[in-house]
């Protein structure tokens, strides 16, 4: 087992453990703790991206998710001061159902990966592309999906602003 394999297993284990602790933390039912474990999950995931030589994805993962999205989560959680969430007990039926659903989805994903019979993959020398290539692809070949995505985000943003206005004039 090489050094990068060991690092991979460390990051993979961290991602999974922190991911579980986000939703099923046995010690604390504090929403802020969940949000902080979500940050750790995302940081370990970007570690996995670095191992794949995808530095751009790793940086963007941290910049967008850890740096912006979850800060806003935290902001909202702290402002709402969710005391009720901490006191509420786990509903056994819902918990059992969600475990079953998660297992079915996981089985489906594993089955798909198994069926596609992945090859050995590229060696790392071919993996590391320049950012320029990403830019050319996004603004060249995939310009239409990219612009549609931007529009969808814009619509969502306008919608939120509309909803948060108390009275429409």
């Amino acid at each position: 087992m090489s050094a990068s394999d060991i690092i991979f297993y460390i990051f993979a284990a961290l991602t999974l453990v922190c991911g579980i602790l986000v939703v099923a933390n046995p010690v604390s039912r504090n929403p802020v703790t969940s949000a902080m474990f979500l940050v750790l999950t995302i940081i370990s995931m970007s570690g996995l991206f670095v191992l794949l030589h995808a530095f751009f994805l790793a940086a963007v993962q941290i910049l967008v998710y850890a740096g912006a999205v979850i800060v806003l989560f935290l902001f909202v959680i702290m402002l709402l001061d969710l005391k009720e969430e901490q006191r509420r007990h786990v509903n056994r039926v819902v918990a059992a159902l969600s475990v079953i659903v998660v297992m079915v989805i996981a089985a489906a994903i594993i089955w798909t990966i198994w069926q596609t019979k992945l090859g050995d993959g590229l060696d790392s020398a071919h993996l590391e592309g320049s950012l320029r290539a990403v830019g050319h692809l996004v603004f060249g070949k995939y310009i239409l999906p990219f612009e549609i995505l931007s529009l969808v985000l814009l619509v969502a943003m306008v919608g939120v602003i509309l909803l948060s206005k108390k009275e429409l004039k």
Partner: protein, 362 residues
Amino acid sequence: MAWIDHLNNVQQLVLFSAIKILGVFAVTMTFIAYAVLAERKISAYIQDRVGPNRVALWGISKIPVIGPFLTKLGIWQPIVDGVKSFLKEDFTPAHVRKAYFWLAPAVIMIPALLVLAVIPFGSFLGNQKMVIADLNVGILYTFGIVSLGVYGIVLAGYASNSKYPFLGGIRSSAQMISYEIAMGMSVIPVFMMVGDLNLTQVINYQAHCWLIFKAPLSFVIFMVSAFAETNRLPFDLPESEQELVGGYHTEYSSMKFALFFMAEYANMIAASGMMVTLFFGGWTLPFFGLDQPAHTIGMGIAHIGIFLAKIIVLMGVFIWVRWMWPRFRYDQLMDLGWRRFVPLSLANLLATAVVLWLFSRH
């Protein structure tokens, strides 16, 4: 030094990286200590006071002329400050959320130090590049790590579990998120001109003309946003003493408080380092052939010296501004960030793109 050649590439990388990390860490810590002293001395002179002038080191203060002069300069003050923050009682109030209360000072310090990893602080020393990690996505790494800095403040506000720290934490997270946008967009024109995100390439590009002359508007927006990101006056709303006692670190004492304090200065150093790299040519000077990567050890050391000197000048500006400007009101701060800087940096981006496009056609 023959044994170095016997190591393989990975071992050499680990060894030299460890040395560089230690060096950068030591220099940063010294800078922090003396930046605090400079802050106190400069503020004292601006307010017509004397500032720290009592701490005398036994033996050295007995030397005629030099000894008393160094004492007057307060050169030993940082040592005493450090000892004091270690020896003070580390008080944990009863009402705090303990885990986060302990975590927050560390969380705020780590990103401040991590940012320094991608900043090239010199050209070459021997055949070693003077940068800890020469990443291709340099600036994206910086912004990613800088955006993590807000967690320390938010957690400190949350952990303290009392209203003034909480208000401070909320204010600062809103402020930091807002100004990150302006800051991020202000540097895009720089990278459009350079054509690369790697910070070493940015410096090589500036060998003939510093980018502050080519992108002055970017620099102004970046500089003001840097003040907001580091929570310095005129944007120190998160810790405005008159309304919030001490803001997010009201409940902290001893070394935990000192970590918040040091993180602020570490952030200033990182921001100055970024500004030097992006707008002031990094380790280059446009004369005496200092704009080319060094071939000799002497030139390499000169480059590091130039870089540090530029950082000291910018740190001086940071400190000077703090004692000359009054504080903004909170709505003015948000207005400036969202309604002035974001549109301005977008216009800057568009204008740069058009100019570059026109030039590329000829």
